[in-house]
Amino acid sequence: MPFLEIVHLDKHYGANHVVRDFNLAIDKGEFVSFLGPSGCGKTTTLRMVAGFEFPDTGSIRIDGKDVVDLKPNQRNIGMVFQAYALFPNMTVAQNVAFGLRIAGMARADSDRRVAEMLTMIGLPDLGARYPFQLSGGQQQRVALARALAPRPKVLLLDEPLSALDAKIRISLRDEIRAIQKELGITTIYVTHDQEEALSMSDRIVVMNQGVAEQVGDPFTIYTRPATRFVATFVGTLNGLDARVLDAAAGTVEIEGQTVTLGRPLTAAGGGSVGLSVRPEALALGPGLASLSGRVEDVSFHGPVVRLKISVGGQRLALDTFNTSAFRPPAVGETVTIGFDPADALVA
């Protein structure tokens, strides 16, 4: 039986249908990310779990109990906000102790728990400071400690790293994941950053226009996207227009070059299909399927080199590791690109 279950959740804002028949079952201790562009309904869904928004229809069950009619302060949920939301009038220790004191915990026990939490987030000596005396990363750590201190059943994080700079974001996401694993707390994490979702989550829910387009583990979401939206939103994707030559044999023509995909196609011979291949699935040199093109641009991204190659009138991105042996082709040079047809999505 799932620990957190969202069943047929629906929400409108006036005429705007923001969440459509959303269903999800989350196991105890699982880390699930809601990933999608702005306005896709991920934060609204999270806020309905927290109790800050009321669904039009549907139910939310936590540990077997329907919480839809419960107020936010009755749900035993910890929440971390994008804007930290630390109480400015309280010290770090008072912030962390807030939920404990509300729950009626004795001062001595509360002090002990606060010390534990501050040690856990690596700020054991900053209890007496006020939020404005902390950096953004430290404030978000304190917000995490505050949310976790009352030992909530579920932890909700609403784009908690968006306001931080890149370096801190990377270190903090590792810390959040480590703390979540250590405590084994069921967690929902909202983000529009695919790298965050892919690196932290047990499962990802990719949302678009209020609908969960695909639910799966990061590897499946990235390598086997269920829809074109998932494929384009998660990672970079090359789109190629092709004409079917032989549907049964899976042979297509791209800009006058024949490619055999080795699997039957649904489109009839002479019809058009779209092929999608990730930049890292392409390699310089012949492969199981090959295309010839002209190098238009070479750009360095540290460990990766990205080539932009023109195949007829269509443009492809190709990523290759920047090893010491690698010599990038010159702009204007004609190259052969190879790929495994199994890595190409046909739509």
Binding site: A50, F52, K71, A83, F87, G99, A103, Y130, R146, P150
Partner: protein, 262 residues
């Protein structure tokens, strides 16, 4: 450039003379009670007057009660309007500004007519009832200042997120208001409180027409019958107002977590 400076300094000097000359003259006059020498006799007489002590004490008590009533009325209202009814803000602001355009005499006549001894709620029939009526009147008079101060304070903090953070930690509405919202708008509340104090201490119309022993009517009676004491009282009242303004500045500077709002 220098000519511009000259005009700026000149207008400042004219302004200062305009404001300070009457004050200096009043102060100077208040020191002339003893013939031929300056003395604080007028102040000594005023401060020793049992009526001064009684009326001043009454007005201070009323001012403190007005502040409490104002805070209890305004903080939850302004908070709720900002949090849940943002579309109603212009309406509420308009209502809170009404005491500035409706003269106190109109308000107090309305009270007397509505709450006289032959009405359903005969508040003017007893001293306690009339005191309560005066308290309500003072709260109305101070409403524009208190509401504006608190609303400005609330604008400076993200009340929606702070409220949600507190709710997610198990806090109810009272806890949120008392432990999260109020401490974070304390400077604004104190600004409103000092303004309220200054208004109530010198208020005449309502107290006189409701026949309450307040400091304003005492000032008027003394002014009509004595020469030097009213000048001394005016200086004292002015000093109280300035002290209130100074306290607003002091509290703003002493607030520990002010920088968190920026």
């Amino acid at each position: 450039m220098r000519l511009q400076h000259f005009w700026a300094w000149l207008s400042l000097a004219i302004g200062m003379v305009y404001f300070f000359l009457p004050l200096i003259a009043t102060f100077e006059f208040s020191l002339r009670m003893r013939r031929g020498v300056y003395s604080f006799d007028a102040y000594r007489v005023v401060l020793a007057d049992p009526n001064f002590q009684a009326t001043f004490g009454y007005s201070v008590a009323m001012a403190l009660l007005t502040i409490v009533m104002g805070v209890v009325l305004v903080v939850p209202t302004a908070y709720w309007v900002r949090l849940k009814l943002p579309r109603w803000r212009p309406v509420i602001e308009f209502i809170t500004l009404l005491p500035l355009v409706i003269p106190a005499i109109v308000i107090v006549f309305g009270y007397i007519r509505l709450y006289n001894t032959s009405s359903m709620l005969p508040l003017t029939g007893t001293a306690t009832g009339t005191n309560f009526l005066l308290l309500v009147g003072y709260t109305v008079l101070a409403l524009p200042y208190m509401y504006r101060a608190v609303d400005t304070g609330l604008r400076a903090i993200d009340i929606a997120t702070l409220t949600e953070a507190a709710q997610s930690l198990g806090a109810g509405w009272t806890t949120i208001l008392v432990r999260v919202i109020l401490p974070n708008v304390l400077v604004a509340v104190l600004s409103g409180a000092f303004l309220t104090f200054a208004i109530v201490i010198g208020e005449f119309t309502m107290a006189a027409l409701l026949n309450r022993p307040a400091f304003g009517p005492y000032l008027q009676v003394l002014g009509a019958n004595r020469a030097y004491e009213p000048a001394a009282l005016a200086v004292i009242a002015f000093g109280i107002t300035w002290a209130c303004m100074g306290l607003i500045q002091l509290v703003t500077r002493l607030q520990k977590h002010t920088s968190a709002r920026r």
